[in-house]
Symmetry: C2
Subunit: 408 residues, 2 copies
């Protein structure tokens, strides 16, 4: 008898019919002899509607009250799901974040999980209940209701799976799993049967938004094996787990793309000045996430630094850096380039297989695609390309690594 945590997102419980569908899946898992914990998001659209009401009342609603309001979304879906399972003749019990023992710390609307005391949930499991927990929420030490921010329900599921020592955590979503590349871009992209935590993390941070990186990090930290699956069919999904020796036999696991990138370059910096510190502090103060960073010193002794970021942050970044520009000397210049995209190849096999970068850049050059900034990690190589070329870039790199053919 296994203990399985199943997480269902907002679109999986987006209507009464879909709630019934989830109830059936939970009941099937239970009837197959498993102990079942569900973690559920708010019905799709509900959270946005609640935020809309909040903004009708206040331009800048207090985050404590915003959490109080938003938490009702999941509370409604767990109650309805509990009713649907009971209606099918099975025992179900719903749990708010507080009742599930999810304790948080940090700021409202983006709290972090501090610890989980799953006693109430495990007691109910022992009594034969299917347990339905509200994702995305928990309580702070002072008893205030807190929400966990974007991707919070995935995090709730992974953390609960760790706390109840689940055998498996299934993350149900609207795709069949993690693919070698976005199938809308690369027609012969394949679903990956298995992936290491680190590969999943690099895929997430380089654009494959199946899950937020922090949920994957939590799973890695606590060794929670999870599977990304489709809530609308019974296809096997992608299992994400600790790296195994056999994973290295594959040179790369997948190609990941991210659109809407922009580059910002400050050139003619008169040294000596701690320009990297000044630039990154200015951007951090403006709450802008910087992605790739390249710095070099020109032969005339002037330095130059380039950074990439999301297009939507470019305006704010420009404003923030104009203020510090005078510190870099009279000739310092600020230039921007929009219309970029990022392409990454990811795979733990990169560590033991040389020539990955060569293969990647050869394929892009052969296709006449211009590459820009380059960044690497131990298991990832990323380059910027013109936004207009990103789909072709993905296809030629996917082909160059033969990702369309079945690999063990």
């Amino acid at each position: 008898m296994a203990l399985i945590v199943q997480k269902y997102g907002g679109s999986s419980v987006g209507s009464i019919d879909r709630i019934r569908n989830v109830a059936r899946r939970l009941v099937e898992t239970h009837r197959a002899g498993n102990r079942v914990v569900a973690v559920v998001s708010a019905m799709s659209g509900v959270t946005d509607r609640l935020i809309g009401m909040a903004h009708e009342v206040s331009e800048n609603p207090p985050t404590r009250e915003l959490d109080m309001l938003m938490a009702t979304g999941e509370q409604q879906s767990i109650a309805l799901l509990g009713m649907a399972i009971t209606e099918m003749g099975f025992k179900a019990r719903s749990f708010t974040g507080r009742q599930a023992g999810i304790f948080t710390y940090g700021s409202h609307t983006r709290a972090r999980i501090h610890r989980i005391d799953p006693a109430a949930v495990t007691t109910a499991l022992d009594e034969g209940y299917i347990c339905i927990c509200a994702g995305f929420q928990g309580i702070a030490a002072d008893g205030a209701i807190c929400t966990l921010g974007r991707g919070g329900s995935d995090l709730s599921a992974i953390a609960l799976a760790a706390a109840v020592k689940a055998d498996l955590c299934q993350i149900y979503t609207d795709v069949d799993g993690v693919y070698t590349c976005d199938p809308r871009v690369v027609k012969d992209a394949r679903k990956l049967p298995v992936l290491s935590y680190d590969e999943m993390l690099e895929m997430a941070s380089s654009g494959s938004k199946v899950m937020q990186a922090r949920s994957v990090e939590f799973a890695k930290k606590f060794g929670v094996v999870f599977e990304v699956r489709n809530s609308m069919n019974n296809n096997p999904g992608t299992i994400v787990q600790e790296e195994t020796p056999s994973m290295e036999s594959l040179v790369i696991r997948g190609v990941s793309i991210e659109r809407n990138q922009a580059r910002l370059t400050i050139s003619n910096i008169s040294e000596p000045v701690p320009y990297t510190a000044i630039i990154l502090s200015a951007l951090s103060d403006a709450e802008i996430n910087v992605d790739m960073i390249v710095a070099n010193t020109a032969h005339d002794g002037h330095a130059r630094q380039s950074l990439t970021m999301n297009m939507s942050d470019l305006g704010a970044a420009q404003a923030a850096l104009q203020k510090v520009l005078p510190q870099f000397g009279a000739e310092a210049k600020l230039e921007t380039e929009a219309g970029l995209a990022k392409l990454s190849v990811v795979g733990v096999g990169m560590r033991s297989n040389s020539g990955v970068a060569a293969t990647m850049f050869r394929a892009l050059a052969d296709a006449g695609i211009e590459t820009g900034m380059i960044a690497t990690s131990e298991i990832r190589i990323t380059t910027t390309v013109p936004a207009a070329d990103i789909e072709q870039a993905a296809r030629v790199v996917h082909d160059a690594f033969h990702l369309n053919t079945v690999q063990e």
Copy 2:
């Protein structure tokens, strides 16, 4: 500096504009130098919509999950009200039933308040917050969310007022207070400035549905002075408090009416048989509330018993009593009469003033109105009249006691 609890019902917070109106009233009370606790219902329509969703999922939804679902209604209104007050530049903090320390016992969907631990609320008051508590909800000993049933928010307000030792509890509704009679029926009915708990109880049980009897009973038990007021204006309301000697100077306080009554009579009962016990047990098993009961023995040794109840219960009562009828002998007969109404006069002055019943029945007789069953308490006299005559009956009795003239 007084401590004031203000309760606002669903229609008072039925839209974003109305929530702002309530926020303004709370802020005004706070600025006048008072410590303020609000108790709030769900926005009107929300609870019905949630119940509708529950019934889409299940014909007979489990009550634990129904409470989980319904409690989100108040949680939303307290959060929005908290935002509205913050937007006006004042400190506000919302509390779910659990956070306000409202502990319940008894069944889901109609739980009772066991005790209140208002520590979190009083701490917030000490820190200068306007405290906004969810009405209608609390938690059971096992941590489950429970709702308090009809009129539950009034009960929450009265109980919180007792727990925080409030100087006054204001129950805001859509009428200006308690009237000598329903102003839609008796044009010159007057608003009563003051009323004793017992009078309010008798008015409630005899049809004036401003508040549920159990809230008034709770207030009486704990000596909570409360005022029924209109949330849409600043008129003084009706204060309900412990009886004072001066209250007895008024013979009666008001006339209360209740429509949709029915009578059920079992006649030709062959004695000896404990017929009252049998009849009331049968009705109680069918969960039917009986109101007036009249029993007598006819000269031929056969007994006869009449009961009144709400029209809507008549069918079920008839079915329940048909089953026990054979126990009363072969000649026993069950008859029903629909189309009745009830008229009551209420007043603590009745105790020390004789002739109240005579005045009442003389007025009805003079108007040619037939009276039926009669029931009395120490401070109330009730009679049934034909439904078609109830409005005229109310007017002639109101006149007979000069209730239209200002009394101290």
